[in-house]
């Protein structure tokens, strides 16, 4: 190449590319997946190849790459010859022998046999011979090798047997001899060897192209599938494209790079040959392996066809050919050819099994990256969570949230603790962290109209400074979510949702607002995490919070059940709700989240002085169940109407009912959004 040996030229090219600031080369990196819209997945091996002592860092890195264009230059993979007893140790691909020799300085045997149907094996034989290895014979199943090879072999003193086939091997721990049959005369003879290298030709690596959903076409002359129509913005160059001649490859590469070739190549040989399947001279009952990992032999493919399997997918699944960890890179074309011959159909009509990701196996570790332990999934904690941890609370997972479940005292079982917490709330008071409840601020001149459309209750009668239980249904009338809604001002609602429902409720509201009711002047903001929510429940609740509250009279008469006020608590701005999810006198104090812990501590201390305690979600569930309050998602499951749940009262009577089907289970449909209401 440009007067240099190919390898040297390639090294120089790499060095030049490395010097460019818009080029990044990732060595030890395999592109294993080509997905939609030019999205590629690569596995970079960072430390996996290093000795243990040096390998502290990440072993692999997953690259997820989106590109405008992809150039695929994925090469080709050599196929072994298929012949009886071809699985003996010491038998390997010609290209493997060459790599051992030229890259690692390892000769794979002292006396090596060659069996091929392709010129590339000759090159391996020549390299071995030049390195001093005895090459016993080149057995070529073809009548003739490529240009000049026979002469070159002769010059090196290598015997060539054209139109011959290997029909058997011997050896206990490794190959010791092979039996070679002259296909013309039928005579056979034996050669003593300690290694055998084979090449049946090269299969273009079209895996990534195929994963990109490009359409393959069958090149009948060369008996191979090559890229046809591209489905994405990609280009194939070189052997993967079925391009064999070096000058053509240079031209393709230059065109793919948007340039003109200025690379001169000399002395490059164009390889010819290749075969698929088994040589016809072999014994059809012998074990000629095509899939070495799954021990699938040529005769197994024939057996599958014999038993009625006519599609290559059926044959694959019946024999497991190509289902091992190489995913058929060596065996698929052989299997296909044998099946096609048996079926007497052209190869493309028998089909090709689908190429799937990954190109080579990839560790789960590569794919998951940092996602483990605390980074597996965010563990969401409230501002008060740390306090509960210090107090030895047991926690439960609710969605991504960690919630205090109950607060056991020394020696208490769960039931003891919950019983005590329940009794304490009923008799004096309990303090509960309700910060996880979803909160959505609905603001704008049309807020009321919007709320009327989204909830089954009527909101026009709700005055600022009051709150109300709200029930949200799907359009088919099944319960979707619920929560207390407070009206802060004519144009401002503080909506609460279930802990798990917050994102989907906000999404549903946005959906209607943006697409069905875009004329409404109203906006939604998630305020879930802006507020820490401290619920104080029980007969002593008012006495407990009273000293902390300023700016509102919370006496029983002034601040009645379902009242709401903006005030200060512990000197910080607060939204105070008088609500109860326990059936007891109750308040929910919303303070900006950073103040949550501090306010909680002060309220808790005072609650304790009244005999109160902190309680968790288990107690909350007992208390609310005793009073018959439902939890959406626990007591409902997607096919429960308000009437099923005994909550017809939460459905505004002013709206017409869509239709009522009283099935055996009494389900009734009811429209959530009554468009007859003017907006």
């Amino acid at each position: 190449m440009n007067g240099m040996p190919g390898y040297d030229w390639a090294l120089a090219a790499v060095a030049e590319l490395e010097g460019m600031d818009n080029v990044r080369i990732l060595p030890r990196t395999t592109a294993f997946g080509y997905y939609n819209h030019n999205f590629l997945a690569l596995c970079e091996r960072l430390t996996d190849h290093l000795p243990n002592a040096k390998a502290n860092g990440p072993r692999e890195r997953l690259w997820q790459l989106r590109t405008d264009e992809v150039i695929l230059a994925t090469g080709a993979i050599e196929r072994p010859m298929v012949f009886p007893q071809n699985d003996r140790p010491g038998i390997m691909l010609a290209s493997a022998a060459r790599a051992y020799l030229n890259h690692y300085g390892v000769a794979l045997g002292k006396r090596v046999g060659v069996y091929c149907a392709h010129d590339s094996a000759y090159e391996a034989a020549f390299d071995l011979k030049k390195a001093g290895v005895d090459v016993a014979v080149i057995v070529d199943s073809r009548a003739e090798a490529g240009d000049g090879l026979a002469g070159q072999a002769k010059a090196l003193g290598i015997k060539v047997l054209a139109n011959n086939a290997v029909v058997g091997t011997k050896g206990r721990l490794r190959i010791s001899s092979m039996k070679v049959k002259d296909k013309a005369s039928g005579k056979s003879r034996s050669f003593d060897i300690d290694a055998l290298i084979t090449s049946a030709g090269w299969t273009p690596s079209v895996h990534l192209f195929s994963q990109s959903r490009g359409k393959l076409v069958f090149d009948a002359d060369e008996q191979r599938f090559v890229p046809g129509t591209h489905a994405q913005n990609s280009v194939c160059v070189g052997a993967c494209n079925g391009t064999d001649a070096i000058h053509a490859i240079i031209g393709e590469a230059a065109a793919a790079g948007g340039g003109v070739a200025d690379i001169a190549a000399e002395n490059a040989r164009q390889w010819t040959g290749g075969m698929l399947g088994e040589d016809e001279s072999a014994d059809s009952h012998a074990r000629a392996f095509i899939d070495y990992q799954h021990d699938v032999c040529a005769k197994d493919i024939r057996q599958a066809v014999h038993e009625g399997m006519a599609s290559i997918e059926h044959i694959k699944r019946f024999t497991t050919n190509g289902m091992a960890s190489d995913q058929g890179k060596l065996s698929n074309m052989h299997g296909l050819a044998i099946a096609a011959e048996m079926l007497d159909r052209p190869i493309p009509q028998v089909g090709l099994t689908t190429f799937r990701q990954p190109f080579t196996p990839v560790t789960f570790g590569t794919l998951i990256g940092h996602s483990r332990g605390p980074l597996f999934d965010p563990a969401r904690k409230t501002p008060i969570n740390g306090w509960a941890e210090e107090r030895g609370a047991a926690f439960e997972d609710v969605g991504n949230w960690k919630r205090a479940w109950y607060f056991p005292r020394p020696g208490e079982t769960k039931h003891d603790a919950v019983n005590r917490e329940c009794r304490t709330v009923r008799e004096s008071a309990g303090v509960f962290d309700a910060s996880t409840l979803g909160k959505i601020e609905v603001v704008g001149p049309d807020a009321e109209a919007f709320m009327n459309l989204m909830y089954s209750n009527a909101w026009s009668t709700l005055k600022p400074g009051k709150c109300r239980y709200g029930l949200m249904l799907r359009e088919d009338g099944y319960i979707y979510d619920d929560g207390v809604v407070g009206r802060l001002a004519h144009d401002r609602f503080h909506v609460t949702t279930t802990t798990g429902g917050a994102p989907r409720v906000l999404n549903l509201m946005e959906d209607y607002l943006q697409t069905e009711f875009p004329h409404l002047n109203v906006w939604l903001t998630s305020a879930t995490e802006q507020w820490a929510v401290i619920a104080v429940q029980g007969p002593k609740a008012r006495e407990i919070i009273e000293p902390f509250v300023e700016g509102v009279d919370i006496s029983a008469d002034a601040f009645t059940h379902m009242s709401l006020a903006e005030c200060t608590v512990c000197g910080v701005p607060a939204r105070l709700f008088r609500v109860s999810f326990t059936g007891e006198l109750g308040f929910e104090i919303n303070v900006p989240a950073d103040f949550g812990l501090s306010v909680w501590k002060r309220i808790f201390e005072r609650a304790e002085s009244f005999g109160g305690c902190a309680y968790g979600t288990e107690t909350m569930h007992v208390l609310r169940a005793e009073k018959g309050y439902i939890v959406v998602g626990q007591d409902t499951d997607g096919t429960v109407t308000p009437f099923d749940a005994g909550m017809g009262w939460a459905v505004s009577k002013k709206r017409p009912i869509l239709s009522a089907f009283a099935g055996s289970n009494g389900r009734i449909w009811w429209p959530r959004i009554a468009s007859s209401l003017s907006v």
Partner: protein, 417 residues
Amino acid sequence: MRKYSVFALAREAMRHHSGWEKHWTSPEPKSEYDVIIIGGGGHGMGAAYYLAKEHGITNIAVIEKGWIGGGNTGRNTTIVRSNYLYDESMDIYEHSLKLWEGLALDLNYNVMYSPRGVMMLSHNEHDRQTFKRHVHANRLYGIDNEWLTPEAAKEYCPPLDIAATARYPINGAALQRRAGTARHDAVVWGYGRAASDRGIHIIQNCEVKGIRRGPDGAVSGVETSKGFIGAKKIGVSASGHNSVVMAMADVSLPLESQPLQALVSEPLKPIFPCVVMSNTVHAYISQSDKGELVIGAGTDQYNSYSQTGGLQIVTHTLDAICELFPIFRRVKMMRQWGGITDNTPDRSPIQSITPVPGLFVNCGWGTGGFKATPGSAHLFAHLIAKGEPHKLAAGLTLDRYRTGRLIDEAAAAAVAH
């Protein structure tokens, strides 16, 4: 057809297996059949078989666009179970599980049904309550299902990490011991062989291009890539393409076809004795007889007929698998693939007459159709033969989207199953 037996095996071993017969024949289509089944998957092949076996109808063609078993039957993760919550679901899945138990004998074909147990992990209070509700509902209905402590779960499945420090610790599990796996290809081949033996025509590589209707509106046959084929009854069971086929008869369905992905690892020595599903972290896993870990991923969020999906769906699933089983972090993914699932709004299937006389549909199995294969096939055959649903499938009709009698197993089901 010759019976498979140990004697047949011994005989064939002596003569290079030359005496085995073809599994099924590949006849040219006739001009007219009594029944045409569109879709040569497990449900369609099975329906043809039961029509012949139980209803005496043998003049049947099963028309398959590609190769039989090549759709979702050949792409799923082979889980079989019946621990559903609602009566309608328990009816059909338990009916199916009972058929699985005798299927190999019935078909004289080893479908490799393996009742190795399906364990559904509970990670929090909500799971525990939900699964216990399932356990009680199942047992009241006569279906086996039991609650295990974390220690008992680990004893049943030793690779499980039950450390309390896990991000999602395991607080118990529901185990259905009769549940397990079966070999997907074998099921469709077994039905194919038995159906072919009864004279049913299996017509592969034949694409349905239209459904022809007579002046009375009833079906009269199908236009195909191999010409017109007549029939007075047509059963559509073309999972992944049901909307497309039914649109040919102007029948709209409440379906959305979405990619569902799965993957297998490289083969390992036997390490994983059962099926484990986790609703909360979105993962399910078993080990195939070849040793691969078979892992089901989730559904992509968009409609697609491409049988591919995004890498993020797979990585999300592997996150969960490695969280549950840290020992698998260095295991390698060998192959990932996708199928097309037809999903209904209530995530329960549809088996129904349609507004078109003579046209029947079996669809909407979403991510869970494989386990239903024999049961669905059996009841679909009944529907086609009698023109009305079997009582075990009476709740699965299309009518429920008009009456509101939805069967929402979403809360009950593990993610994708």
